[in-house]
């Protein structure tokens, strides 16, 4: 499997947010998008997920399921957690798993992110880090080959960051792809880097 973007451009709100961005991610590889604030890291991720308009360039996922769009083979972990405060932790995860075509067995996924003990707690009572962990549980329970992670380590403590790094390594070892926007290392030593900004 191989994700390639060439000469990608995005025009939003009367402004050229991205232009001439090219990258290739092979199966088992991670690409780290780096750059100062406002340079378009998040926009690039949203563009790949099909959530932002692509005004130029080409984007292709070779070797995936031909019947599914790129977005449908993608996990998008953005700044927002997509959690409903009045539903419990377990109900939130169960819903996304069913709606996005994942498997059953939320307990195992919750245990993997260290939330098994509070599965019946309404999500309103979760801390920022716990909300993040619950979002990450979504990546485990629903199998999709491409992970788009927008500053995934935000609000996570050291232990949770290590847990996330372990999950990412496992995903890569299984032939998955990761495209992550970050300001620093996210615990993947072998990640390639794509630097945005400067020229633009």
């Amino acid at each position: 499997m191989r994700l390639s973007g060439s000469d990608l451009a995005c025009f939003r709100g009367g402004r050229q947010v991205l232009s001439g961005v090219s990258f290739v991610i092979e199966a088992g590889e991670a690409l780290l998008v780096l750059g100062p604030n406002g340079v378009g890291k998040s926009t690039l991720l949203r563009l790949v997920a099909g959530l932002a308009p692509r005004s130029g360039g080409t984007l292709a996922l070779d070797g995936g399921d031909a019947e599914l769009s790129i977005a449908e083979q993608t996990h998008y972990l953005g700044h927002l957690d997509a959690l409903k405060p009045s539903l419990t932790v377990d109900e939130n995860l169960t819903f996304w798993s069913r709606f996005l075509g994942g498997g059953e067995g939320t307990q195992a996924a919750l245990a993997a992110v260290g939330l098994a003990g509070i599965a019946q707690l309404p999500a309103a009572y979760l801390s920022a880090g716990q909300r993040r962990r619950l979002s990450i549980a979504r990546l485990i329970i629903i199998k999709r080959p491409l992970w788009l992670l927008d500053e995934p380590t935000t609000a996570l403590d050291a232990a949770a960051q290590a847990q996330l790094a372990g999950l990412m390594r496992e995903h890569l070892a299984g032939g998955g792809l990761i495209l992550a926007a970050a300001h620093g290392p996210i615990g993947l030593a072998a990640a390639k880097e794509l630097r945005l900004g400067g020229a633009q």
Partner: protein, 222 residues
């Protein structure tokens, strides 16, 4: 199908839990209709004559009140992003959301209408006619509102704008809803004539509302 059933169950559950707002619309309906006899005075004949129109106006305004919860909340917490990456047709997704919304906010209005009819001195025939027209008309209002909610989804505090956008579109529903109710009470038209047109309008709203909403959401990403 499983995905849509999960979405339906989630939306129903969210609406009836604390803070879900399922009862807001019906309480507003109750208050508006209760206020009318105080404003008009105890003229029973007058109340019976304007009763269907009051019930329809109350239901129309009450159904607008909850529209901002329909899509804006999912947009604010990021759920909409994930919904757009799901392997489910967006048209079906929004139709299911609207159906769940109608069951929790529109159907209670229909069920409350016969009781409120008592306050307006409506006889059983008139009450039945109003309830029947509301049963057909409120889904149309929900699906029209859905379009307004989708168009304003990216705006913060777009609630009032939704009302301004949607209200003009609801005029045909209102006209034929009240016309059918009045036809059943005083004639001279047969109830069936305006009622069939109301049913037709409702079906058009169902189809056009769903397609327009999906198109608006896809465009909102741009």
């Amino acid at each position: 199908m499983n995905a849509l059933a999960a979405l339906f169950a989630r939306d129903i559950r969210l609406a009836i839990r604390v803070g879900g707002g399922a009862l807001i619309g019906v309480l507003f309906f109750l208050i508006v209709v209760t206020l009318v006899p105080f404003a008009l005075g105890p003229d029973l004949a007058l109340l019976a004559r304007v009763g269907p129109a009051i019930l329809w106006l109350g239901a129309l305004l009450a159904s607008l009140l909850t529209l901002d919860r329909l899509l804006a909340i999912d947009h604010e917490d990021g759920s909409l992003d994930l919904i757009l990456t799901a392997p489910v047709t967006l048209e079906l997704t929004v139709a299911v959301k609207a159906l769940a919304h109608w069951l929790t906010t529109g159907l209670p209005l229909v069920l409350a209408a016969p009781f409120l009819g008592l306050l307006l001195n409506l006889d059983p025939t008139a009450t039945g006619a109003v309830a029947l027209t509301l049963l057909v008309g409120t889904p149309a209002l929900t699906f029209l509102g859905l379009v307004g909610a989708a168009v304003t989804v990216a705006l913060r505090r777009g609630g009032l704008l939704v009302a301004v956008l949607v209200l003009p579109l609801t005029v045909p529903v209102l006209i034929f809803g009240v016309a059918a109710s009045n036809a059943a009470i005083v004639g001279p038209l047969r109830f069936g004539t305006p009622f069939s047109i109301l049913c037709g309008i409702a079906l058009v709203c169902l189809v056009v509302g769903t397609l327009a909403t999906a198109a608006a959401l896809r465009h909102a990403m741009d």
